[in-house]
């Protein structure tokens, strides 16, 4: 049986990021992925947004969700440059319909600044990594977006907001990890894990490996995998998010990310994102589901069409629909809406790390590696840096 120091289950953005981070050290690392390539699940079915500015600063203070997102802000430009992955600042618009919206944004905005831009703030970001947000009146908003709904009276403009290609990023991270010595086992689904004295035996549908540490980054299946060794000390509800893509022509119609604040009785997200290769992505119709649910609810497209029409009323978006699809993400504290990430060693199962991301998981990923390294060294894994780590080298994960 092959033996590794660390085995990572799953190669979405979480698994690939951790693999690359660990490839900086002199340890043996294996990644097990059930699909024939990396990044094909949740990481391929999202808004592609990198919460770079005001939005991540408004996440609930004290949560990992806020901490990792804010701390990731300065890391994105360097990371994407090293790996040759597209990263584009498109800017975001928090749309204001009335005074209530304005007051809400004002509150968010001031909280954001209080919590991060002062040097003694818990998650400090220096001014050079962060362009200030500003309120736009009707006229300046129209200059930026001439086609916007005339009922919108202004916006909170966030020049920092960016998009990326999460699949390409995941591939690049995995290939860089591979070039730096990490092994990949594709088309292997983890079926059963045994906890032994001092190590784990991980059984896939094809083979078995031994590992001292396990990083469980199986996306929507983190709970099931954790249950195999009684390491599920958390709960999430699989949440389906339906998205609609509109063709490249629509890029001419609207150029920024934009969203409406949620209102009472409107449980679904209302947002549009110009994706990096052109076209608009609109969503998100949300529903709590079983993870095996393959049904594309018709209300999804309907909601998404209503959203884009509420943002740009006079354009025949019906004629520009490219596709409607969904992703399923884990939502923790779903009964209150107080989502948070989980990156944690369960109290009763040492040497095992669960990673549950969910909303804004791609955005927070640059900080993930560091967090996992911290947990592994706390658990007694000796991590000695490799002098010859190459941050940009690539090697196919199948080689």
């Amino acid at each position: 049986m092959e033996e590794y120091d660390v085995t990572i289950i799953g190669s979405g953005i979480a698994g690939a990021t951790v693999a690359r981070e660990l490839s900086k050290y002199k340890i043996s690392v294996l990644v097990i992925e059930k699909n024939s390539d990396v990044g094909l699940e949740m990481t391929s079915t999202n808004m592609t947004l990198v919460c770079q500015g005001g939005d991540s600063l408004t996440f609930r203070p004290g949560t990992l969700h806020a901490e990792l997102n804010v701390k990731s802000i300065p890391l994105w430009p360097k990371l994407t440059k090293e790996l040759g992955v597209p990263f584009k600042r498109i800017g975001g618009l928090g749309l204001i319909r009335d005074k209530a919206d304005y007051l809400k944004f004002l509150k968010m905005y001031s909280r954001a600044f209080k919590s991060s831009l002062k040097p003694d703030a818990p998650y400090y970001i220096s001014e050079k990594d962060f362009q200030p947000l500003q309120f736009l009146d009707r006229r300046s908003l129209r200059e930026l977006e001439p086609n916007i709904n005339p009922k919108v009276i202004g916006a909170l403009y966030d020049p920092n907001l960016a998009v990326t290609d999460p699949i390409k990023l995941t591939k690049a991270l995995a290939e860089n990890a591979r070039a730096n010595g990490v092994d990949f086992l594709l088309e292997n689904e983890v079926k059963h894990v045994e906890r032994k004295e001092g190590y784990f035996v991980i059984n896939t549908d094809k083979t078995s490996v031994k590992s001292k540490f396990v990083v469980n980054a199986a996306g929507i299946n983190v709970d099931r995998i954790a249950e195999m060794v009684k390491a599920r000390n958390f709960t999430y509800v699989p949440t389906k998010g339906v998205l609609t893509d509109f063709d490249e022509e629509t890029s001419e119609i609207f150029r920024h990310q934009a969203f409406y604040l949620p209102r009472l009785g409107e449980p679904h997200v209302k947002a549009v994102v110009p994706i990096i290769y052109g076209g608009l992505r609109v969503g998100i119709y949300l529903d709590f589901v079983m993870r095996s649910d393959k049904n594309l609810p018709p209300q999804g497209l309907q909601h998404n069409l209503n959203v884009i029409k509420e943002i740009v009323p006079d354009y025949p978006f019906e004629k520009h629909i490219k596709r409607t699809f969904f992703g399923i993400m884990p939502l923790t504290n779903a009964e209150t809406g107080w989502h948070d990430f989980i990156i944690d060693i369960p109290e009763h199962v040492p040497n095992w790390i669960n990673i549950v991301l969910g909303p804004a998981g791609v955005s927070a990923s640059p900080m993930l590696g560091e967090k996992v390294v911290e947990l592994l060294s706390m658990s007694g894994l000796y991590l000695e840096p490799k002098p010859n780590f190459d941050p940009s080298a690539k090697r196919g994960v199948r080689e």
């Binding site: 249950e227 009684k230 599920r232 000390n233 958390f234 709960t235 999430y236 509800v237 699989p238 449980p267 529903d287 709590f288 589901v289 079983m290 993870r291 095996s292 649910d293 504290n333 779903a334 009964e335 209150t336 107080w338 369960p346 109290e347 009763h348």
Partner: protein, 280 residues
Amino acid sequence: MSGVPERVSLDVALKIINAMIKFAKDNAMLPGSYAVVDEGGHVVAFERRDNAPAATADIAIDKAWTAATMKASGRILEVITRGQGWRLNVKHKGRLTIIPGAIPIIAHGRIIGGVGHSGGSAEDDLKIAQAGWAAIFREEDFNVDVEEKLSLARRIANEVISIVRKESLKPVSVSVVDEWGNLILLYRMDNAPFGTLELARDKAWTAAAFRIPSEKVSIYYNGSPLSINWNERLTPVPGGMPLVYDGKFVGGLGISGNTPTEDRRIAIEAVKSLGLQVFE
């Protein structure tokens, strides 16, 4: 079970309870009480594990009731009431339980019931209740082994249900209490009116309190079949049976849903087929 349920049936409620017990055991949390109610706040299934304090039973039920009827989780209610929840509690005759571990069952964008757990710290109660609600989104069932007393209570309740089904009788509520009259188990079959819940529970209590079948209590202690009325739990009508297992008195069984004589017959048959002492 296929798909997310539309309503809280007994099967759904039992799946939720099993998921909670499994979660608590996997995480070495204290044994507690587990309650699932429907959208009206009435119990569909309740279980208390051996060694869980008896008082946790009604706390768990009241938490589930609070979440279902306030349509919000305990944590949200804590925030809304700014820690002044006890004022509301007084208004609701002490029933409103604004403590973590109370979670509404949200499905298809509606609230179809509530889950309550009591027995651990506030954090554990919350985590266990969350594991319960989330079970309705899991494809697989959670089968768990439970301790001795609860296990016997489950066998009795399942026997009662299978007799009712086999004979196409009216759906019942069935309750098992321990030797002190404290609740161990309460199930309500689908379509059994909620009024049967308290009747079943009180018949079980009556049988356990006097260690004779519930309907004998008036004659034996009052000298007349007329009801004595000095305790609001006392329900001297047929359908309550003392439980004597291996020669040892262990509690009471109560059934309600059919005519009292029918309920009594079901109880006798159930204890008989499980080898417990029969009181004719």
